[in-house]
């Protein structure tokens, strides 16, 4: 019933007193938290900076594919991660964004925060995750939070007894349908190609009698007056446009990496995902990346968490080699 995330402040004072950190982690999702855990246990002087603890875990109601948990709420899994990390007294600065990242002449990273505070570190782990991808169609921005939503857990209650559209065909879309099914009177899934979601989710979805699925169909626009009232879809088979009356549109078509801070500084792919080597180091020595922010194809909680562990262990090796004067 309660999702308490506030952490005791005793160690955050380290952010005022530490001259140079061994490792600063940017991002408080599964990758960042697990990296913090591993780094602290290895004895590194590590701090974590994040806007919110939990990252995208909070956008999902239930998690059923994290080993060890048959069923757990996204928020609860985030809480258990946080509790584990807190038990090691790792300094975490919540509700802050890093606004700039540079490497100085002494090969030390200098991070600027949104309150103009500056922090220095020998290595940095970029684990900023990703944000929901937008459809990029007419009316989407106009009706954002007026029917168009990117957070099912947040906004589902507003659509009690209403017809809503879910855009997307992956696990997130299927989960959104299941979340919405207890509120909405009718749900129409619109997806440009075929389902990519896990069969186990599709089986559950097939049991619902108020769900209609329109595959091979594109969303063209969102319309309405004060609030969203309808969408126009294009059926690729019949090659015809069709207007559907609906009061909500939940967009679950994937994610875009939060890499704005590093554009033109390190190597990325076309999707602006960070390219890393097998030790999860980026093209800038000492800067590592983990989780959904990287080119790693499978955006999964357990994979992000494992990335975090890998990165922390690689960072320890990197720091050890550096002190030995064996920089690659």
């Amino acid at each position: 019933m309660f999702q308490l995330n506030i952490q005791k402040n005793s160690k955050t004072t380290l952010f005022n007193t530490t001259k140079i950190w061994d490792l600063l982690i940017i991002g408080g999702g599964p990758a960042g938290l697990n990296a913090a855990l591993y780094a602290q246990r290895k004895g590194l002087l590590v701090g974590l900076i994040t806007k919110e603890i939990g990252g995208q875990l909070h956008n999902t109601t239930s998690v059923e594919n994290y080993l060890g948990f048959e069923y757990i709420e996204g928020a609860s899994l985030s809480q258990s991660f946080h509790k584990h990390v807190k038990s090691l007294d790792i300094p975490i600065l919540v509700d802050h964004l890093v606004t700039n990242l540079e490497k100085n002449k002494e090969e030390i990273f200098e991070l600027t925060l949104d309150n103009n505070k500056s922090l220095k570190a020998k290595t940095v782990l970029f684990a900023t995750g990703a944000s929901p991808r937008k459809l990029g169609i007419e009316g989407e921005d106009t009706f954002a939070s007026k029917g168009v939503s990117y957070c099912t857990t947040c906004d589902a209650p507003f659509f009690k007894g209403k017809h809503v559209i879910v855009a997307g065909g992956g696990n997130s879309a299927a989960e959104a349908v299941l979340d919405l099914s207890v509120w909405a009177s009718k749900i129409t899934v619109v997806h440009r190609s075929q389902w990519r979601a896990d069969q186990i989710l599709l089986d559950k979805l097939n049991e619902l009698d108020h769900v209609t699925v329109r595959l091979n169909t594109n969303l063209v626009s969102v319309g309405g007056k004060e609030k969203m009232e309808s969408v126009i879809i294009f059926d690729k088979m019949t090659q015809e446009n069709e207007a559907i009356k609906a009061e909500g549109l939940f967009v679950e078509i994937g994610i875009i990496p939060n890499t704005g801070l590093l554009v033109n500084k390190i190597t990325m792919n076309q999707q602006k995902e960070i390219i890393v080597d097998e030790s999860l180091m980026t093209s800038m020595p000492g800067l590592f990346a983990a989780g959904d922010v990287t080119t790693n194809r499978h955006k999964q909680i357990i994979i992000a968490a494992s990335d975090g562990a890998k990165a922390a262990l690689s960072i320890q090796t990197y720091l050890r080699n550096q002190t030995k004067g064996e920089i690659k």
């Binding site: 995330n5 506030i6 956008n59 509700d95 007026k146 939503s149 947040c154 507003f158 659509f159």
Partner: protein
């Protein structure tokens, strides 16, 4: 009714309250049935205030204590406000039960009113202090919204720093009609002086930019 806060949550909150400095008073307004979540909100606040001797909880009736209600501009129930050590209104208000993710707004708010230290740059704090017109910030939330406490806490911090500002959380499901009036179908939705709107959680600077439009 069973306890809302289990042993684990109590220990956690008690531990956080160790950081409290000045005493604070919570004034809760309820009314006779029918009142959605009045009983639950009272119980939650009783349980929370029992975890620190620096918190005093006072319960009032919206209609019987009309003078007090007017003083804090209370029109909804349940609704509660925080007073500082001198019994002055801090501008921090909650409408509806702060359960789910909103427990963070409640506990965070108590700590900040008691300690009055903010992690903003000096320039930001100076800008907030300069605001010389009345500002009302409504933050509509749902209890399942993880991004909402960030927005609520920023509204509350603005209120704590400047007496001209009131920041209020509004639990959208309890106050459905009000939410409809403000066209809320996504949260957090921030409404400043009935006119300026922000959707989603925003940094304090975005709040300031909207306030400067007034």
């Amino acid at each position: 009714m069973n306890q809302f806060l289990d042993q684990n949550a109590q220990t956690q909150i008690k531990d956080l309250f160790q950081q409290m400095d000045k005493p604070i008073t919570i004034v809760l307004f309820t009314k006779e049935e029918p009142c959605l979540t009045c009983v639950e909100t009272k119980q939650l606040l009783e349980e929370v205030s029992a975890l620190s001797d620096k918190i005093t909880l006072v319960t009032k009736d919206l209609y019987e204590d009309i003078e007090e209600a007017t003083k804090y501009d209370i029109t909804l129930t349940p609704s509660f406000v925080f007073l500082d050590e001198n019994q002055n209104y801090t501008g921090v208000k909650f409408n509806g039960i702060p359960a789910g993710h909103e427990i963070n707004s409640l506990i965070g708010g108590i700590l900040e009113v008691s300690v009055m230290k903010f992690d903003f740059s000096k320039e930001t704090i100076d800008q907030i202090k300069k605001i010389d017109k009345p500002v009302n910030i409504k933050v509509f939330v749902t209890l399942s919204c993880p991004h909402c406490p960030g927005a609520v806490q920023n509204a509350h911090r603005l209120a704590m720093i400047n007496k001209n500002i009131v920041g209020e959380m509004i639990e959208a499901q309890t106050f459905g009609e009000l939410s409809q009036k403000y066209n809320v179908s996504g949260v957090p939705k921030i409404v400043i002086n009935e006119k300026y709107e922000l959707l989603g959680n925003h940094p304090i600077e975005a709040f300031l930019a909207e306030i400067n439009k007034i």
